[in-house]
């Protein structure tokens, strides 16, 4: 029967080609608009490190101004002061801890013909690479002993390694940055967490840094932060010492904790630390520490842009209008065939048979719309890329993965069947007698 109904459906579609095309186009446009934005939202709100996101916690302490919260209504600052970051790092109460800030270095290539160039850099600690499970092309990160011993070591991104050493394995070789010679311990393979969760205070969807070098070195060499620096209290004296001992927040601490017990213990430790600082005259605000895991932190920072959410709402309404359009047209089409339906019913077709016939026809239109919708989604994403192309990260937002393609197909079929349900139900309700009279 299905094949027969499919054939009837095709015939009926062919009988009104313009109208059928309009219905397919409406569904396709609706799905296309909706899925374009859903895809962007999906990538932006994706989990950048799914297998570890519940083990990694971002630490916030409220060291801010007694008269004014760092962020309304009562949020602690999003970063830490050097004093607190260093104290928590040295206490070492978590399984692993990463303290970092964003900066820049100038690489001076050995080859004098190559001009010096600036690279984006992350000043960080040894645990960074294991904690965030970074892929290595060559070598590995540095050791904790390098942090403590202030060793001049560096991890390069793949692109920088290729620029400096072509295809060779550079582990053990030297790189000169700002006059100091660093030893390469490893080269990262292509790695781009999206969002760039470990530093959303600066650029949620930015590229990863080009070089990574020890925090202890950058403090000793007085390397300024290139990231956000926020201060509520005047530093008093001028100079680097005064700055690092100030109440300015400019670095981020991530810790690795397994399970509720460890988390609670760490919270207790943070509270005790803040109490001790209060006793020393710091932390004028009430106790307000936060320990968010990766996804909680992404939500707290609202990494998904408002614009995307507005567009998502509009896109859902858009799909709704397209479906209303399809329902109206299908209804008109089916009601126009009341005569046929009445006749079939009079000849003994059950309501079920009528229902099957028209739902198959509507389903065909829906599937056509869905397939065209995936094409529209790809077009839509290309359009977005064209519009926002100057932002490098857009490249990563406009990729369709299989989950999204499957979602588009399911959404299309559900939409089409949903749109077909009412008109088909109405068709089933047609009384044989009422229609036969008018024939």
């Amino acid at each position: 029967m299905f094949r027969y109904y499919a054939k009837l459906g095709l015939l009926s579609i062919r009988r009104n080609p313009v109208l059928s095309a309009l219905m397919v186009a409406a569904i396709a446009t609706g799905i296309g608009a909706c899925m374009t934005i859903v895809n962007i939202d999906y990538v932006m709100s994706g989990n950048p490190i799914p297998h570890r996101s519940e083990l990694l916690y971002h630490v916030q302490l409220d060291s801010w101004d007694p008269y004014e919260a760092a962020e309304e209504p009562n949020e602690p600052p999003d970063q830490l002061t050097y004093i607190d970051g260093k104290a928590l790092l040295e206490a070492g109460k978590a399984r692993r801890q990463v303290l970092s800030y964003r900066t820049g270095r100038v690489i001076q290539p050995e080859d004098d013909a190559q001009l010096p160039f600036q690279v984006s850099s992350l000043s960080t600690t040894a645990d960074f690479f294991q904690m965030f499970d970074t892929p290595f092309l060559y070598g590995s990160g540095w050791d904790k002993s390098d942090d403590d011993g202030m060793a001049y070591v560096v991890v390069l991104s793949r692109a920088i390694s290729e620029q400096l050493f072509a295809d060779e394995d550079p582990v053990g070789r030297n790189v000169v940055m700002n006059g100091d010679t660093y030893r390469v311990t490893g080269v990262l393979d292509t790695w781009q967490p999206t969002p760039k969760f470990y530093d959303v205070s600066n650029d949620s969807f930015g590229e990863i840094e080009e070089v990574f070098f020890p925090f202890s070195i950058s403090i000793a060499k007085e390397v300024d932060s290139y990231g956000n620096t926020n201060c509520w209290k005047p530093t008093g004296e001028t100079g680097w010492q005064a700055f690092i001992n100030s109440e300015c927040v400019w670095m981020q601490l991530w810790v690795e904790l397994h399970g509720d017990e460890e988390r609670e213990e760490y919270k207790a430790f943070l509270n005790a630390y803040v109490e001790s600082q209060k006793a020393a005259g710091r932390f004028p605000r009430p106790m307000n520490n936060r320990l968010y895991d990766v996804m909680q932190w992404m939500q707290n920072r609202e990494v998904v842009e408002d614009d995307v959410q507005v567009l998502l709402g509009l896109a859902v309404l858009f799909l709704l209008v397209c479906l209303l359009n399809t329902i109206g047209l299908l209804l008109a089409k089916i009601m126009r065939r009341s005569g046929d339906i009445g006749l079939r019913r009079a000849l003994g077709a059950s309501r079920r048979a009528i229902f099957s016939q028209y739902i198959v026809e509507a389903g065909l239109i829906g599937i056509a719309g869905g397939i065209a919708g995936i094409g529209m989604t790809m077009l839509g994403l290309q359009g977005i890329k064209l519009l926002y192309g100057e932002f490098e990260f857009v490249e990563r937002l406009v990729r369709l993965d299989w989950v999204m393609i499957a979602t588009a197909i399911v959404l299309a079929v559900i939409s089409a069947l949903g749109a077909a349900l009412y008109p088909t139900w109405r068709a089933c309700g047609i009384h044989p007698a009422s229609q036969l009279k008018s024939l």
Binding site: T238, D306, Q309, L317, V321, F391
Partner: protein, 405 residues
């Protein structure tokens, strides 16, 4: 006149009409809110930055050599830049309007950390700052060369000079009761360091376009001794694109202990800064146009069906003496009624959606006139869409009535 019979006829076939009305309603809700967002973004993009955008470009100089001397480099660079053919003026500063990164500080009318603190964007300039940025001095005076301090982050010396020039907006924010009389007044920076206002400039935006107080800015007569600095250069009108590569080359070659990077014009900066907004505007215009087209085509489709289904009735009416105009009027009027129900429902949904968006995303509420405007547009779309099928209806011959019955 004919509304009664048309309305009663419509009630016999409620669902199809309801579907069109709903479609019109949601289309209108989207249209109104899209227009509200477009208006807001356009207003934002139209705000002047206050500086001479057409002729300004800027670049960063980053010293890296261990023997790099920031002060000597700045003095030498400024001297070379100001003498460079095609360059009107140049300064060393920290940022430019719309750039995205800048320095903010708070100013108070009275000293003390418990007194009201008004946020302000800081631009470090010398006596050439006003001329280089091309801002208008509207009151008081400019800095003199002797008032410009060097700030050395390692040495002692004053943290802030004791003189400043404010934008008109900042002056009004600090002294709302006498905004015209701010020159000569003293304000406090970093809680309790006194600063005297010596001049007022008409307008200069901060570096952050979304900041609610984007016109609060202050000029500080200071050159900061840092290894990474930014030069802002204003060229003679029309010479910008020609001068830029020459300047870059000259600076790079004059001192090899540093690199020159991030050279950009103000025009590029404005484009980049408002890229999201202009993209959003284009997206919304596209969405609304497509949506209106789909709704219009839906109306065409349904009206065609309706005409085909009722060709017998139309024939009968024609046979009973109805003119072609009367038939046309019937379908046009019918569509007008549906559209009216749709746009009234649409107005309600639009306002509801807008209230939600204002709360959730801090949008400005819609201007009242957008609603009647959208109503008018959708009425017109409906009438245009129905005209074709209605015109076809007038072609139904009266003879149809006699044939099939």
């Amino acid at each position: 006149m004919e509304i009664g019979p048309i309305w009663r006829a419509m009630l016999r076939n409620k669902t199809s009409y309801l579907l069109i009305a709903l479609q019109i309603a949601f289309t209108m809700a989207i249209m109104v809110n899209a227009i509200a967002i477009i208006q807001e973004r356009s207003r934002m993009m139209a705000r002047p930055s206050g500086v001479d955008e057409d002729n300004i470009f800027y670049l960063s100089s980053i010293g890296f050599a261990p023997d790099f001397n920031p002060r000597a480099a700045i003095e030498q660079d400024l001297d070379a830049l100001r003498k460079f053919p095609g360059v009107a003026n140049a300064i060393v500063t920290n940022t430019v309007p719309l750039q995205g990164g800048g320095w903010s500080q708070g100013l108070r009318r009275e000293p003390g950390d418990d007194k009201e603190n008004i946020g302000v964007a800081v631009y470090f300039v010398d006596e050439q700052g006003i001329d280089t940025f091309g801002v208008n001095l509207t009151g008081g005076r400019n800095f003199t060369p002797t008032e410009i301090l060097w700030f050395d982050s390692e040495g002692g010396g004053p943290r802030w000079p004791d003189k400043t020039i404010l934008t008109q907006a900042m002056a009004e924010a600090l002294f709302p009761e006498s905004p015209q009389d701010v020159v000569g007044k003293t304000v406090y920076i970093e809680n309790d360091l006194p600063v005297t206002v010596i001049g007022i400039i008409e307008r200069m935006q901060a570096a952050w376009k979304s900041w609610s107080k984007v016109e609060n800015a202050m000029l500080v007569p200071m050159k900061r001794l840092e290894s990474a600095v930014r030069y802002v250069i204003r060229t003679q009108p029309g010479y910008r694109d020609e001068v830029m590569p020459q300047v870059e080359k000259m600076l790079a070659e004059s001192n090899t202990g540093r690199i020159i990077r991030s050279m950009k014009t103000m025009t590029e900066t404005r484009q980049r800064s408002y890229l999201e907004d202009s993209a959003m505007i284009k997206l919304l215009i596209f969405v609304v146009s497509i949506l209106t087209a789909i709704t219009g085509l839906g109306i065409v489709g349904l009206a065609s069906f309706s005409v085909a289904r009722r060709s017998k009735q139309i024939g009968t009416r024609r046979a009973l003496g109805a003119t072609r105009t009367a038939i046309l009027r019937y379908f046009m009027l019918e569509n007008f009624i549906i559209s009216s129900v749709g746009v009234i429902a649409g107005a309600i949904i639009a306002v509801g959606l807008n209230i939600w968006m204002v709360q959730a995303f801090d949008l400005t509420p819609i201007a009242w006139y957008v609603i009647p405007l959208a109503m008018l547009v959708l009425w017109l779309v409906g009438q245009l869409a129905v005209f074709g099928p209605a015109h076809r209806a007038t072609m139904v011959s009266p003879a149809v009535a006699t044939r099939a019955v």
